[in-house]
Amino acid sequence: MNEFIFFINNVVVSGLVLGSVYALGGIGITLVFGILRFAHFAHGDMMTMGAFVTFLLAAMLTATGIVLPIPLAIIVLPFAMLITAGLALGIDRGFYQPLRARGARPVTLLIGSIGVTLIIQGLIRLVFGTGTYSFFDEAPKVLYRVPVPLFDAQRTINFTQPQVLMVFATILVVVVLHLFLTRSKFGKAMRAMADNADLAQVSGINTKLVIRVTWIIAGSLACLAGTMLALDVTLKPDLAFNIVLPLFAAAIVGGLGQAYGAIAGGFLIGFAEVCAVFNWAILLRPFKDRFPEWFEIPNNLAIVPTEYKLTVAFVILVITLLVRPTGIFKGASS
């Protein structure tokens, strides 16, 4: 039983958390691709930027001496999301819009976004240095231990407060985004533009406004995802740059341009990664007696070593593209 709880802690809880981060980041990438038709490479750094905005606001609040039972980062998060959305709009105005106005092709915008990546990372390092920061210098993370009153379990199911908040925030975002895309006039217009931009324009849809709304959503979700990632690990300048590849894998596996696809792809890749690095031998040990004597359970039965975690996203990506080239939710093929 203890082994099973270890499995829950290391696979189910970790997978949910990682999947939430990938899903929230992936939604932004897929929405930007759907509306603007280019791979926004700087999305990871938009997440990092959002996390630093939250960190700054939280630090300002801490300086006033307020102490609350939940991390201050959560309190300032809505404001940080607004600010990051504004920054995302500013980045579009400053870098992508001039390119679009000159009729740049998607690959040009992609290269441009790599430039934006360097700018954001450079600016963050300029202001905050290259070190790591923690949201929990003042108060440690609250840890929940849930005892399992079954059999002879001694271990407890563990998760931290930020992890719980993260999973709930993801569910909330998914529900709100779903209602927005299927019920509101603007959400439908966004889907229409992702489906067929020329026809959206012909229908009189204000495509410039749709682009702005897209950046507001992408920016605020990037802030949310980045902050959550920083709350779960630590805050550093290359926080989300390191996961930009699994983020793209999540968006592509789900079907580019499909918001629901990115959610599914995010959780798929999140769980696949934690499953791949989990040592399955642990789950076999309780059944040691049932195996024939000549069979010895190896010490480590992980599918890949932790250092190669990143390859999991690619394996899934390759398999998906072979079996269903447009992704789980039938996204764009170009």
Partner: protein, 234 residues
């Protein structure tokens, strides 16, 4: 005063102009049909009216104003609608959502207009929840027309509405176009089925190399031996 009047319109996609002086006038009661050989600038004329390509000369008067180079998000609320020839439905969205997108610029309640569209194309009412991409070619054309009508246009422009449709659907679409016109919407369309379309057109325009070569009522063009010989296949 004409609903829309093109005076010596010149335009293109940068580079050499495709339109070299197109003249046209359509009344509210008119069904105008543009015919002509490939590359004559038929579709281009519609796109020029709708602001989808650059007009470098001449005027397009609509509702008493020169609207040349205005973009669709300004033209649609003024009463201009356009059904492109290809990719004219949102394939991933339901039939009803397609119609809603046609009403995007409207702030008022559009449920009556939607009812009107459903009465005109009862098959769409049946399939209102289905993704438009799952419909047949003819039904898609109905969705596309329905979408364009949702903004309550004064002038409906259609780019080859019968292209690729079976004869049965061609007839039905043409019948609906006549019906829409009877409801007080001016029509301007490009058509390959020239003989059939000129049969019900009140005005016909023959374009060649981006210029008018013949203008007249549909019947006049059909009866003109020269037009018949050069454009209508004898």
């Amino acid at each position: 005063m004409a609903l829309i009047e093109l005076k010596h319109v010149v335009g293109g996609y940068g580079g050499a102009p495709i339109l070299n002086g197109v003249n046209m006038a359509i009344e509210k009661s008119d069904i105008g049909v543009i015919v002509g050989p490939n590359g004559a600038g038929k579709s281009t004329t519609l796109k020029a009216i709708f602001g989808l390509l650059r007009v470098t000369g001449g005027t397009i008067e609509f509702g008493g104003e020169n609207v040349a180079n205005s973009l669709p998000d300004r033209l649609v609320p003024r009463g201009l609608s356009f059904v492109p020839q290809e990719k004219n439905v949102f394939t991933s969205m339901s039939v009803e959502e397609n119609l809603e997108m046609g009403a995007f610029t409207r702030k008022d309640d559009f449920s009556e207009t939607m009812q009107w569209v459903y009465e005109m194309f009862p098959v769409l009412a049946e399939k209102r929840r289905q993704p438009a991409g799952e419909l047949s070619g003819g039904q898609r054309q109905m969705v596309a027309m329905g979408r364009a009508l949702m903004s309550q246009p004064k002038l409906l422009m259609l780019d080859e509405p019968s292209a690729g449709l079976s004869p049965r659907y061609v007839l039905e679409i043409f019948e609906q176009i006549v019906k829409v016109n009877a409801a007080g919407v001016g029509i301007l369309m490009v058509e390959q089925n020239a003989k059939q379309a000129l049969g019900f057109a009140s005005k016909g325009f023959v374009l060649a190399s981006g210029q008018n070569s013949f203008t007249g009522t549909g019947k006049e063009l059909l009866d003109d031996p020269e037009v018949a010989k050069s454009f209508l296949g004898g």
